[in-house]
């Protein structure tokens, strides 16, 4: 009989072969809906708004088109052609089709087909980071040299719901490869998952439901803190060992509060805290925040990234930036370049763009 050796409890995820990020790319659509517009229509103009404004996809944009642009930016930074990828994985809760993968379309557009793994991932706002963990496994095992993980969403919010202030659009793509080629080595990862019904959308429903205050303490805070604390403890690190930290950002307050609870300063989360000006980009949120942080990072910086997906779970990663970052940052448009490209829209235009008109 084969003896099964038990896995040590709470061991962080570390592949046999060290891996890292060799290219990354973000995309934020240009349209901005000020939160004051939602307040004007639904709250008589008097409401404390959770963010300043959110990014909204245009009429000809969806998860596939945004993922394609983020993926192209990641390939430019990595300096590899699309056909070097052995996986193209897209995490989202707003895939354009219920059945027919977004990933094959993205893979085709970036020239990654046909010798490639392709699939769509779903885990609310952490579908993209789950694909990133899987990419670490595929590359870390030696099955692939390069794998791409994308988080992208055109998030939905019922008209008048709290979510309508924040539910935004964006995408970010990451190429995982061997550590020796990395602009940031992924030193370790850790995930924390429970069955927690804080937010959901049933089949064929256009808009999600959520558990109001239940989304905070037992969902967002519990999972992010557990994943981050376990990972830092297992690797012997504290908040002071990191130059930057990025947390999932459904609004402005939650990431600020969770950062404080974990011992991080406002300066450490500053470059990656984008929710005030682009909203909650769901599966892209933590990953766009990381892209903006990598845009300003320097060799030897350590970055903690923790996503959160409703339902619920968190993936935490420790990144160690290498010398390679400096040549790659400007090979593609920075995240701030996309954020600076801003066209303000009113609620009426927003309703048309998001297909919320009843015909």
């Amino acid at each position: 009989m084969t003896e099964i050796s038990p896995q040590p409890a709470f061991a962080p995820l570390k592949p046999d072969r060290p891996v890292g990020i060799i290219g990354y790319g973000a995309y934020v659509p240009q349209y901005r809906l000020p939160a004051s517009e939602v307040a004007r229509i639904w709250k008589g103009g008097r409401a404390a708004t959770p963010i300043k404004e959110k990014a909204v996809a245009g009429l000809d944009e969806d998860v596939a088109t945004m993922a394609i642009e983020a993926a192209r930016n990641a390939l430019k930074r990595a300096g590899i052609p699309g056909d070097h990828l052995r996986a193209v994985w897209v995490g989202s809760e707003s895939h354009p089709y219920a059945v027919k993968p977004t990933s094959t379309l993205v893979a085709e557009a970036i020239g990654a087909v046909p010798h490639v793994q392709a699939a769509d991932w779903e885990f609310a706002c952490k579908a993209g980071t789950e694909a990133l963990v899987a990419s670490m496994g595929l590359v870390g095992s030696g099955m692939a040299r390069y794998a791409m993980a994308i988080g992208a969403d055109t998030a939905q919010g019922r008209p008048g719901d709290e979510l309508e202030f924040t539910a935004a659009s964006g995408a970010a793509a990451y190429i995982v490869g061997p550590a020796e080629e990395a602009l940031a080595v992924i030193e370790a990862s850790f995930s924390y998952v429970t069955d927690t019904p804080d937010f959901w959308r049933r089949p064929e429903q256009k808009f999600p439901m959520h558990g109001q205050r239940f989304t905070g303490e037992p969902a967002y805070f519990k999972h992010i803190i557990a994943a981050a604390q376990h990972l830092m403890k297992a690797t012997g690190m504290t908040a002071q060992d990191f130059r930057y930290a990025v947390f999932h950002q459904p609004n402005t307050k939650f990431p600020q509060r969770v950062a404080g609870m974990l011992g991080f300063t406002p300066e450490q989360i500053k470059p990656g805290l984008l929710s005030p000006v682009i909203g909650n980009t769901y599966a892209a949120a933590a990953l766009i925040g990381l892209a903006a942080t990598l845009d300003v990072a320097q060799p030897d910086d350590r970055i903690l990234v923790v996503s959160f997906g409703s339902g619920a779970g968190s993936d935490a990663f420790i990144l160690h930036v290498t010398e390679a970052i400096t040549q790659r940052q400007n090979r593609a448009p920075t995240t701030q370049t996309y954020i600076a490209r801003r066209v303000e829209i009113d609620y009426g235009t927003y309703v048309r763009f998001r297909g919320k008109l009843a015909s």
Partner: protein, 135 residues
Amino acid sequence: MEIPRHWRLRQQRYALVGEVCPHCEEKIFPPRDVCPYCGNEAKTQFTFSGRGTVFSFTTLTEAPAGFEQTAPYTVALVKLEEGPVVTAQLTDLGDRPVEIGMPVEMVTRKIRAEDEERGVIIYGYKFRPVLTETQ
């Protein structure tokens, strides 16, 4: 339903994949397997950079069938930096006026759906004003 046609054209539509003539080295778009410049066979694939300038343009308010949902929109002749001129929609214009000679870059966007709710979604190239870098 024109699924086979859209499927056949997906590479050129998604990523501006054309051809380069192995004889006279002219770049060809759309691909046609015979060089329009020297008449020889040309089947070597070539992916265009996507950069170009507006050669001419017009704005449509009365859109043809299938394109009503995005009207009004601007269609341009875009002269690619490698030579060929392509017809495509301009996108992400915002309030910006279009000018002849304006530098543009290719993006892959939704063109239309075969049927708004149920049909296959057609994606393809459009052009937008070149992004302005901020540091």
